[in-house]
Amino acid sequence: MNLRQTIIGFVIVWIFHLLLYAGCASGPVKVTMNYTPTGEGLLSDLKPVVVSLQVVDYRPEEQRNRIGVQRKTMFGSENASIISKISEVQVVHNAIKTELERSGHRVLNPEQGQGDIKLIVWLKELLFDSKAEDIDIELVGSIRSEVVAISNSNNFPQVSFTVDVVYRDFIQKGLLRTGGLFGLWGITFTATPKDRIENVLNAALAEYVRSFCTEPKLRKVFI
């Protein structure tokens, strides 16, 4: 078999797989989202209080079944839905609770009492997506919410604010991710690995908690 025949053979196999993968969807990708705090507690400079924390799912119905899509080919065709192993409401609740507790505050569920401060978080969006950006793939994780904070221990009025964060990272597609067929395989099939999806969502969650805790209106309620 000469070089020309070899190349033609490779191209035929590649086109066959392109057609096969472009049209086929896999089972859902189940991701684990965790908030991993670093450094000092973001609210540790404030006097310890008891906080009643409630997170309400306020997302549109179509966003509750999946938090994003894993795309596989360079044309953005959908490969699989992305699903969180733990409910998204619980993920956000756990993340805020972790940060409050490590900052020295006590956290109650609403049924356990009012506490000194009542925090209600309306989760409006928690999504992941990817998009081609030049010869890379842009990965985006976004979390949006409305928050109401009510102080029971002082006379400070109730405050409300939005916490919207978008975390973006890139992965390379193409040649460097695979050696096969002079890079054609890598350029064409660029499914985002599960660990990279988790990294982006966890980074968005960390940004969310940081933005939440540094909100000036929230800090006023704690004083």
Binding site: N2, L3, R4, E40, L42, D45, Q63, R66, I67, G68, V69, R71, M74, F75, G76, E125, L127, F128, D129, K131, A132, E133, D134, I135, D136, E138, V140, S142, R144, T162, D164, V166, Y167, R168, D169, F170, Q172, G174, L175, L176, F182, G183, A203, E207, S211, T214, E215, P216, R219
Partner: protein, 274 residues
């Protein structure tokens, strides 16, 4: 023997192209694309700021990038090719290159641009970008963004005084009494699909405003970065591309709101308690 040499040449060409592409990808991978805080705010220095010089740079202006692989930005590249062809003629003329050679090069550039435009023309992103560009003509320049931001920064009183500057110059800083520069680089801005949305063709396609920024606070001497952050602002509201085309002022209004959000975000980030 001759056939074997020919095969080797083909193989060498393929490998050369592969290596070249790999180098391009490595270089491309060196960009700072991740969002988040790159330099934590220096609260002590920031609290001493009296006058800020705002310097805005725009790398990629407005474009509609709804397709998974969008070529809307390449319209600008194509226009740059035309300008490049003009510059090519000027440079070659100054070097005394024969007119025939010079003309051939220039025509090649122009023909390439025209062919490029012709190929790009059918793309919905290119068409939408061309349709909506007049809508944003008033706000699609570094100066226009800077004017809006200066106004908003003065209203929000993040800094005692804000001056608009064209560049980060020490001499200018002395003249205007600027002690810190706020350098805002718009890497790109325009319309993109909302996360996890299905791409629809035509005017029904959903779109939201995006603003990809790098914000940096630098001492007037330029030797100290007081804060730096990469930010991807995505508008919380989504509209159809048809809405942006039919509702006059919608796009400009969303951009104005986005710039307000950038000011609020800057205030929160640099004065936040660590």
């Amino acid at each position: 023997m001759a056939k074997s040499e020919g095969s080797n040449k083909v193989a060498m060409r393929i490998y050369s192209v592969t290596i070249l592409l790999a180098v391009v990808m490595i270089l491309n991978g060196c960009r700072t694309g991740r969002t988040g805080t790159l330099v934590e705010p220096n609260h002590e220095e920031i609290s001493r700021i009296k006058t800020v010089g705002l310097c805005v740079k725009v790398e990629r202006g407005f474009a509609v990038r709804l397709q998974y692989i969008s070529n809307a930005d390449e319209v600008e590249v194509s226009l740059q090719n035309l300008i490049g062809s003009g510059l090519f003629v000027a440079v070659q003329k100054s070097r005394g290159v024969p007119v025939e050679v010079m003309a051939a090069g220039a025509i090649g550039g122009v023909v390439g641009s025209v062919i490029g435009d012709a190929i790009l023309e059918p793309s919905p992103d290119v068409r939408n970008t061309k349709t909506l560009k007049p809508e944003v003509a008033q706000i699609n320049t570094a100066d226009a963004i800077a004017y809006t931001l200066v106004d908003k920064l003065q209203t929000t009183k993040i800094f005692p005084e804000v001056e608009m500057v064209k560049s980060q110059s020490l001499m200018l800083a002395h003249e205007k009494g600027i002690d810190t520069f706020l350098i805002l680089t718009v890497r790109k801005w325009g319309l993109r699909p909302p996360p996890a949305s299905k791409y629809e063709k035509g005017d029904k396609a959903e779109a939201q405003l995006e603003l990809d920024l790098n914000l940096k606070l630098v001492s007037s001497s330029g030797d100290k970065v007081l804060w730096e952050r990469n930010e991807l602002y995505l508008d919380s509201k989504t509209f159809s591309i048809g809405d942006f085309k039919t509702q006059k002022g919608l796009l400009a209004g969303r951009m104005d709101y986005a710039l307000q959000m950038v000011c609020d975000l800057t205030a929160k980030e640099i004065y936040r308690t660590p």
